[in-house]
């Protein structure tokens, strides 16, 4: 490790020591991936402001777009130091994980300057307008129309599974600009959710919350400036964005406490120190080992792509990540037993209620971002060269 990076490590540690509120240590999952997040406290808001000013919510983005311009190595050091301090970034969501990287790749300078800083400081929320009632796995058959009206597109149609649409400022959407060309007729628009003609209807999920909506576009005018890439390039850009989503899912479960720790506090232990339930013990080991194998694979594939190796393995990582998220949620309920089946009200601790909701929500992980079946099709056809009849 070069001495420069040691310097960066020390500086990061110092800065975190000064700015990260101890009271938030380890609460990242509760705030950022919970079905029922707490209300933001003053400490949370102060921490969000501080990290946004530093650009460390999106540390590798260039400074002019609100990032910190860190190298991958520095970002890795920062992540280590944050983990060591129990710190976590309050700046997340689809803007950071999916849309920002895509905009960095395909946007004009003007588009980047306009949209990235609001993502970087967590002030502007984005939602995804991809799926439609008749276009789920078969995304390319989407029907939401965008007619070219000279200086703007006129958008009419319906999207579904627009996550967080009810709280979002903007929507990145795939729309049909040419009905005669299935994939080549799709374009990628950025739509201001406050535009006249946008209606949002939250969908109640089995977990009781409504993180997704139906979104209706009724003669919505979208300025031409808000087209990302060229007309008809939407399918290419949209798929690229999904790779970022899948990459995110494969890394999702890395910052959660290990299952076995929970098991040791809740379950019977044998005289030799092992979990007494031999079957559950094996399942926990399998799950934790699979998580480590996935983390090692994410790291290997990243380092290989940096050195010019094969880059397109997100589909297999997404499927493993989905399996892990679901198996982990199943095991949480196995460990908690009936205590993990509470819905609300008296008699249950907050983490117990949270485990139940998470278990329900986890069933979506193998559906959104392209189902497990779609990923397997992609692997079989594109990576393994197996053709359809």
């Amino acid at each position: 490790m070069a001495s420069g990076s040691e310097g960066f490590r020390r500086a990061s540690r110092d800065w975190l020591g000064t700015h990260f509120p101890r009271a938030l240590a380890g609460l990242g999952p509760r705030y950022m991936s919970s079905e029922t997040p707490p209300e933001p406290t003053p400490a949370f808001l102060a921490w969000k402001r501080a990290i946004a000013e530093k650009g460390w919510g999106v540390p590798t983005w260039p400074c002019q777009y609100g990032g910190a311009g860190l190298s991958e190595e520095e970002a890795a050091i920062l992540a280590e130091e944050m983990a060591a301090a129990g710190a976590w970034t309050p700046i997340g969501g689809m803007g950071v994980m999916m849309f920002g990287p895509t905009l960095l790749e395909y946007g004009t300078e003007q588009q980047k300057l306009r949209h990235l800083p609001g993502i970087a400081d967590g002030s502007i929320r984005w939602c995804q307008g991809y799926s439609e009632p008749g276009a789920g796995s078969d995304l390319a058959s989407l029907q939401c129309r965008a007619e070219d009206k000279g200086d703007h597109f006129l958008v009419n149609g319906q999207k579904v599974w627009t996550s967080g649409a009810q709280w979002s400022d903007w929507c990145f959407a795939l729309v049909r600009t040419d009905p005669s060309d299935k994939r080549g007729g799709i374009s990628f628009l950025m739509i201001d959710m406050r535009s006249p003609g946008v209606t949002v209807k939250p969908i109640r999920m089995i977990s009781g919350s409504s993180p997704f909506c139906e979104t209706f576009f009724d003669n919505v005018e979208v300025p031409k400036d808000n087209l990302l890439g060229a007309t008809g390039q939407g399918w290419t850009i949209g798929k690229r964005l999904l790779q970022h989503e899948r990459g995110g899912i494969s890394q999702m479960s890395s910052d959660v406490p290990p299952l076995h720790a929970l098991a040791l506090t809740h379950l019977a232990i044998s005289d030799d120190g092992r979990l007494a339930d031999g079957e559950l013990r094996v399942r926990i080991a399998r799950c934790e080992m699979e998580a480590l194998a996935l983390a090692l694979t994410v790291a290997r594939i990243q380092s290989e792509s940096e050195e010019g190796g094969p880059p397109q393995a997100t589909s297999i990582l997404k499927n493993v990540g989905a399996w892990l998220a679901q198996e982990r949620a199943e095991l949480m309920l196995e460990i908690l037993g009936t205590r993990g089946l509470g819905w609300e009200g008296a008699g249950f601790a907050a983490p117990e209620l949270e485990a139940c909701r998470q278990w329900l929500f986890s069933k979506a992980v193998s559906i959104y971002g392209g189902t497990t079946e779609i990923q397997n099709d992609i692997v079989a056809k594109r990576m393994l060269g197996l053709k359809d009849a």
Binding site: S131, G134, G136, S137, D138, S141, V160, W161, I203, R204, M205, I206, G208, F212, H266, L267, D277, G278, E279, L280, Q326, E330, L333, E334, L336, G337, T338, R339, G340, L341, G342, W343, E344, G345, A346, G347, F348, C356, W359, L360, K363, A364, S366, I367, Y368, T371, T372, E373, N376
Partner: protein, 361 residues
């Protein structure tokens, strides 16, 4: 007197007709949205009792139908298909416990009113989050006037509605009317929106409150086998719903049921369900016959039903895609009830362990 296959079919058909008429899944949604701690519709329960199903396993001399748990399993499965919310399974299991372990006086006191649906009964055993009948902390001590019971049963099925609890304590099983002084209950809102309650006991009971001849494991096997029967009913309904969806949902210009990967997975689900159907029938019949291998067969049925239903409900959600994750679609209601039943009377892991122990390894 096991029912013949024709008689079984007739009984199942009559249950199906009743469910379609009186209590389809929309009825369960109404009960859920009303959020009454009772967890079921009293009118539906009166109708169930009027069908004679509350007394299905009770001997004829006590006002029942005398058809045993095998027939009860068909009814419980049939109600499970439409998620009918009722205290029937709990009450039947309790009635079987009294029939099995009670003396003549105890039977006469309780079974006729159970058979006519005026008494609702439930077995209260589990204490922590896990089914662990070998380590109960509820204490039963002899006192001058009879017995003193103290302990907490935090998640009793039908705990809000029951008029009688069959309570498992460290030294045996006891009949505790819900209005006994010192018994307190508080509703618990659980994932399946049914009528669970925490029941705390600090009660004095008469000397004849103990089910002297009851074996706890046999009593629990009734609960377990009926849970497995309900799970089979859930699986049948969820699988049928999923097949329907596979046949009509179009993606990529074809029904998704025409994709071979889904076809093969559907074949696997069908296979798992058919195996469980045999195991449940065998377990219930063995309990009725007091057969030597009834414990093994009950553990087989409960373990296989648990694994099967976990797979079937998860695959059902997956094959439905996003729509299956919405509250509006029924599949999620089945998923929630299924998870509740998975643990009831012991998980699949519990019963695999028990099966191995029963077979000496």
């Amino acid at each position: 007197m096991p029912l013949s296959i024709q008689e079984q079919t007739m009984l199942a058909d009559s249950v199906g007709a009743w469910v379609a008429r009186e209590s389809p899944v929309t009825a369960f949604r109404r009960v859920r949205d009303a959020a009454d701690p009772l967890g079921f519709d009293p009118a539906a329960w009166r109708s169930i009792a009027a069908m004679g199903w509350a007394g299905i396993a009770i001997s004829e001399d006590q006002g029942g139908a005398g058809l045993g748990l095998a027939a009860a399993g068909l009814i419980v499965a049939g109600l499970g298909r439409a998620l009918v919310a009722s205290p029937l399974a709990a009450t039947i299991a309790a009635s079987a416990a009294i029939l099995h372990g009670g003396d003549e006086a105890q039977r006469r006191l309780w079974l006729p009113s159970i058979a006519e649906g005026t008494a609702i009964a439930s077995i209260a055993c589990d204490e922590g989050g896990h089914h662990d009948p070998a380590r109960l902390r509820t204490k039963a001590e002899r006192v001058a006037s009879g017995w003193r019971l103290s302990g907490v049963k935090p998640f009793v099925a039908e705990g809000s509605a029951a008029t009688l609890f069959v309570v498992a304590a460290d030294t045996g099983l006891f009949l505790v009317p819900a209005d006994t002084q010192g018994l307190a209950r508080e509703p618990r809102s659980m994932m399946d929106s049914r009528g669970h309650a925490s029941v705390s006991l600090d009660v004095t009971l008469p000397a004849d409150a103990r089910l002297s001849d009851a074996d706890l494991d046999t009593v629990l096997d009734g609960v377990r086998a009926l849970a497995a029967a309900e799970m089979l009913g859930l699986a049948d309904a969820v699988f049928a719903m999923t097949l329907d969806y596979l046949r009509v949902r179009v993606q990529f210009g074809r029904t998704i049921g025409s994709f071979q990967a889904l076809q093969h997975r559907a074949a696997t689900l069908f296979t798992r369900i058919e195996l469980v159907r045999s195991c449940v029938a065998a377990a219930l019949a063995a309990l009725d016959a007091r057969a030597d291998d009834s414990r093994s067969l009950v553990s087989l049925a409960k373990a296989q039903a648990g694994d099967m239903l976990n797979l079937v409900t998860r695959e059902a959600v997956q094959m439905h895609g996003g729509i299956g994750m919405t509250d509006e679609h029924d599949v999620g209601l089945y998923l929630k009830r299924a998870k509740m039943l998975e643990g009831a009377g012991g998980t699949s892991a519990f019963h695999r362990d028990r099966y191995a122990r029963l077979n000496g390894y």
